[in-house]
Amino acid sequence: MTDSLAVESELPTSLMTVNLGPSHPAMHGTVRLTVTLDGETIIEAIPEIGFLHRGFSKSSEQSTWHQVLPYTDRLNYVSPILNNVGYILGVEKLIGIKDTERSQYLRVLMGEISRITDHLTCVGAIGLELGAFTVFLYAMEARELLWDRIAELTGARVTTSWTRVGGVATDMPPGWEQKLRDCLPRVLELTDEIDQLLTRNRIFIDRTRDIGIISAEDAVDFGFTGPCLRACGVNYDVRKAHPYLVYDRMDFTVPLGERGDTYDRYVLRLQEIKQSYRIVLQCLEQMPPGPIIIDDWRYALPPKKDVFGSIEGVMAHFKLIMEGIQVPAGEVYVYTEGANGELGFHLVSNGKGKPYAIQVRGPGLPILSALPHLIKGHAVADLIPIFDSINMIGGEVEQ
């Protein structure tokens, strides 16, 4: 025994550098990690990003304020409505207007449905990459049910571009509310099945408990927000701290974790799905009838009968489409609770119809920058659940 130990200590070992390249299933497509390994233990990891940088800021400077909306869909492409809502709230803040009451409820309703789809995708991916393919299929089926509802209301499954300055584009079709009420229990049923499969599963707990722990102070120092921060026990949710739209009228709790490990981040997301479900039901109860967009033709397109029937209508339509909404000059930072954390838009306007500068504060960027801190000392196999649980979405990190 001592002989072999003596031999082992004399064996020349060296560190190995492995490249988990940008095209890798567990890297969610676009992150390159250069890890230095001692055996299976990660000594150091250097993330390199930029493989999905699509020039959002530069392209949005060439488009009118409304034409930027499709670009915002593709930021966090798993919950696009939350991005639409965040961006339009910024433009409305710059102008100084508010949307109608019904549209506020609609935005909250669809935003929460979008948040549920984001958490479902994240949980499904965690299951898939740890080998639980059934969890992935259940999560995808639940997501399909919700995407059907989103498609019936907004017109698109994934990239919706649904909000407009002063309101939203489309209202609920007839019968939609009943269909939503019918499909939500099925979504919850599938979430419960996922819960039963994973949460008390010995293998899952062994692979995710105490993996990727980060303390609360480090998390704040690294700029964490959202579920990753709440898993450390810090109670910061923009919907409660600075309520926007009608979140102050909604009754929901914010789940908190204790240890800041991967398991907490996973369980937190499941609990947030249930809280979002509560918010959706309350929105359906409280939603008032009324217009879904304001009647101010400087910002909202006039109804078609006025466009074709009156001079003012056709002029307003022409100016809005050709020149864009004339947003007064100024600079504003608007922040909402995206599915991964605080999604912020830093908007600068110079008074014309196109944005002067837009910079997105994607919640994933600070969390990804903390990845070397999270995985140091763990095995390569632990990298996978950690990377899944932080739910880095390439679109919002790299704009």
Binding site: I49, G50, H53, G55, S57, K58, S59, E61, Q62, T64, K93, L94, G96, E217, D218, V220, D221, F222, G223, T225, V234, Y236, A241, H242, E323, G324, G330, E331, V332, Y333, Y335, E342, G344, H346, V348, N350, K352, G353, K354, P355, Y356, A357, Q359, R361, L365, P366, S369, A370, H373, E398, Q399
Partner: protein, 218 residues
Amino acid sequence: MAQALIDRVREKFAAAKGSSHRGDEVVTVERGDLVAVIAFLRNDSACDMKLLRQIAAVDLLTFAGETTGGGSLASIEAPAYATAHKPQVEPRYYVSYNLYSITKKQSLRVRVDLRSDDLKLPSIASLYKTADWWERYVYDMFGVVFEGHPDLRRLLMYPEFVGHPLRKDYPVRKRQPLVPELDFPDLVRGPGPGPGGAGVPMSQTHVGRKNVDPNTYD
């Protein structure tokens, strides 16, 4: 609420100027005071701004002159006219540090103006760990050099890229390809086995396949 913060900052740093727009408070400081102001905002118990949300930068080159919005000076290559008559705006850039206090629920932006011939700032990566990547982003996109940064290199663009894309004088569609870009594909044949031999790739077929300059081909 954040006005109180601005007042506290102005008590200690007399050169700071406060402003507010649509409910957002901004305090503009000199470059020399920047690290001291941010350290004060972070460590003072009444401010307690432990969360650095974002470091944003804006290039004011076309702010006044642009008639249709915020666009760059050119699409692919800046024509000689635009380069010769480029508007001169000083200070041309400003960098904005967006701070937040979770306990006090207050936000504040700290703004520093920069001239284009003196594009340097002290790094705050020692104060906030998240500043590391945000400063790399601002360096990559605007060319602001952060002195004291542990590892200042490009974040999103590749090292062979020349220029800083989000500056207003960088043309929008000027690509710098890493791999030579090819022309129109041959719509008839694919790269699989087919007439002409196993796996003759489409780039080798006779139909108009040649390398093109991506900045002229559309």
